[in-house]
């Protein structure tokens, strides 16, 4: 116990840049045998996480994954939100920030951050998911590794339609280019219809300014659509009568479907994952509350079904309120495990009537060359006789 505490305290001094960023509670305090006999730290300007908790993202060279298996409820802590960027995180001075809207508008305009904040504001809880969010290479994968490129926040900002009312949009404008202010100056073409539906320019996340990794000081937010289209560090929107065919919508974020390549694949199809029990946990025989999250880019989740017999039979799980539009939704299913080896899995059903497919159904629809993007198959956990839980990889090529 004490050894574990010392380790946890040391972890506080590590950051991705190797700098000391957070002193936390001193190790000497953690090692105190009896907290009722030692005075703790006084009130501070910011809170801290318990030094006993070690819940972190899993970074690679190009992204960082949310620890889905360690979260409770449906809000992802802002500093545990997944990251995907193409040339690092830019440092943008909010006092110098400007958003330019031009092209096929009646009145090209520039908005400062202060301007954006003066408009009527909207808050909304929704998920954001990278469309490349699927790994299934081996048994020893955690939920974070399988599909940790999804996170959920309460976002606050201005509806893009409010800004388009201000600039006016010419009748022939059917697409707009969204451009970021990072070193990739990343661009995507978006149908104008999404602006009238539910697109937002957001400047706040979970009660505070959005994090630099999430697009500080302002980003586009397209609820339900592949994360790449919600362009971060947004600096410019240009209205057009055609898409721009940028690198991110031609050579990337496209995928083989039979003998063709599918492009402008925006909505994230319904999906779910059991986050407990999951690798690397070990469970005991008896009552187990199977828990997980389900979500759909097409609308609300209406049902999640769980199978505890490798997909032979399915039972309805309980959905945890709130069940929101285009949002991670918690589910749970109480199960009595008899100790025999089995497979457990979940499938999401959304309000459009779509049921999360098996990998084989996806292969049937798209062919064996599919992959890379928009993979949302049912995934199974194998529970061994000793209670150890392993992911079940499935090959399709």
């Amino acid at each position: 116990m004490l050894g574990g505490a010392a380790t946890a305290a040391v972890m506080l001094f590590k950051s991705s840049y190797g700098k000391m960023i957070h002193a936390g509670i001193p190790e000497s305090v953690l090692q105190s045998a009896d907290p009722t006999k030692t005075i703790g730290p006084p009130p501070g300007e910011t809170g801290t996480r318990s030094a006993f908790e070690h819940v972190v993202k899993k970074p690679s060279d190009i992204s960082s994954r949310t620890p889905l298996q360690d979260l409770y409820g449906i809000i992802t802590p802002s500093d545990r939100h997944y990251e995907r960027h193409h040339a690092g995180v830019p440092a943008i001075d909010p006092h110098k920030y400007e958003l330019l809207i031009h092209g096929m508008v009646n009145k090209p305009m520039v908005f400062t951050l202060a301007d954006l904040k003066r408009f009527p504001s909207v808050s909304r809880i929704c998920f954001l998911e990278c469309s490349g969010n699927f790994r299934n290479s081996k048994e020893t994968l955690t939920p974070q590794e399988i599909c940790g490129l999804t996170s959920q926040s309460e976002w606050t900002g201005v509806m893009l339609s409010t800004l388009f009312r201000e600039t006016g949009v010419q009748p022939k404008a059917s697409w707009f280019l969204a451009e970021g202010g990072d070193a990739a100056i990343m661009t995507r073409s978006i149908p104008v219809k999404k602006a009238w539906d539910d697109a937002m320019i957001v400047y706040a996340q979970n009660g505070e300014a959005i994090r630099p990794e999430q697009g500080y000081p302002a980003r586009l937010l397209l609820p339900g659509w592949e994360g790449n289209t919600s362009v971060k560090w947004l600096r410019r929107l240009e209205l057009s009568d055609q898409p721009y065919m940028t690198r991110e919508e031609t050579s990337k974020y496209t995928y083989a479907v039979k003998d063709r390549i599918r492009q402008f694949s925006f909505e994230m199809d319904a999906r779910s994952i059991i986050t407990f029990p999951a690798f690397p946990q070990q469970v005991a025989k008896g009552w187990i509350e199977i828990r997980g999250i389900a979500w759909s880019g097409w609308g609300k989740i209406v049902k999640v079904e769980v199978s505890t017999d490798a997909g032979k039979t399915w039972q309805a799980a309980r959905l945890q309120e709130p069940v929101l539009d285009k949002a991670h939704t918690g589910f749970r299913y109480l199960w009595q495990w008899n100790g025999d080896t089995t497979e457990i899995m979940s499938r999401a059903i959304d309000e459009t009537g779509y049921t999360q497919p098996s990998l084989q159904q996806l292969v049937n629809a798209r062919g064996t060359d599919m992959g890379g993007y928009h993979m949302n198959p049912i995934t199974a956990w194998v529970i061994q006789r000793d209670g150890k839980v392993l992911f079940k990889p499935e090959k399709w090529k």
């Binding site: 090209p108 909207v122 240009e238 065919m245 539009d325 459009t352």
Partner: protein
């Protein structure tokens, strides 16, 4: 592709003009009943500040700047500024490079094995747009327009799409037809039970 894209545009346009929201959502995100015609926040953009940021290039060539380049010049620039990350494309490499392969001697070869500009990119204008806005990775935005034209010419030539003598400029680049263009189709998924 062209027909499908146009159909898609028309479809989007019709939906947008009739303000029929195709969403299943019943959430009312904003009640605009008491709003003024305009709030008057923000300021008009000047032509100068638009020109400074407006660097995008469309497939029809809109946005391409004056200037020109050729494959021979582009090869020299490529070897100095690009090859360290992207390789020279001739043979499969034993080491993992920081950047993806952009071409190979077998352009048009199995794109499921190796996606290159020659066998996967549908528009040549995208090369100019992307290279100018963010390459080279360690010094983004440092190439001149002529250098970008030359690099575009070299990459297209190395993928056997244009000859070494074909200069790239605002007139010639949009005319280049990429082999993979015919493969691209707009998303045909829609709301509902069908798995696509």
């Amino acid at each position: 592709m062209q027909v499908n894209i146009k159909t898609y545009i028309l479809y989007s346009y019709m939906l947008c003009m009739s303000c029929k929201h195709n969403s299943n959502s019943t959430v009312v995100l904003q009640d605009t009943a008491n709003w003024p015609a305009a709030f008057g926040f923000g300021r008009p953009a000047t032509q100068a500040e638009i020109a400074k940021l407006d660097i995008d290039v469309r497939p029809d060539g809109k946005g391409l700047p004056p200037g020109a380049g050729d494959a021979a010049t582009g090869k020299t620039i490529y070897m100095a500024k690009c090859a360290a990350c992207h390789g020279i494309g001739a043979e499969p490499m034993d080491v993992k490079l920081p950047g993806p392969a952009l071409m190979n001697d077998n352009a048009g070869a199995d794109r499921n094995k190796l996606k290159t500009i020659g066998n996967y990119w549908p528009y040549a204008t995208t090369i100019f747009d992307y290279v100018r806005r963010t390459m080279p990775y360690n010094a983004p935005g440092t190439l001149t327009d002529n250098e970008v034209y030359s690099l575009t010419a070299y990459i297209l030539n190395a993928n056997n799409i244009i000859t070494a003598q074909t200069a790239m400029n605002a007139a010639s680049l949009p005319k280049v037809t990429m082999p993979a263009k015919k493969l691209f189709v707009p998303d045909n998924r829609h709301a509902g039970p069908e798995i696509r």
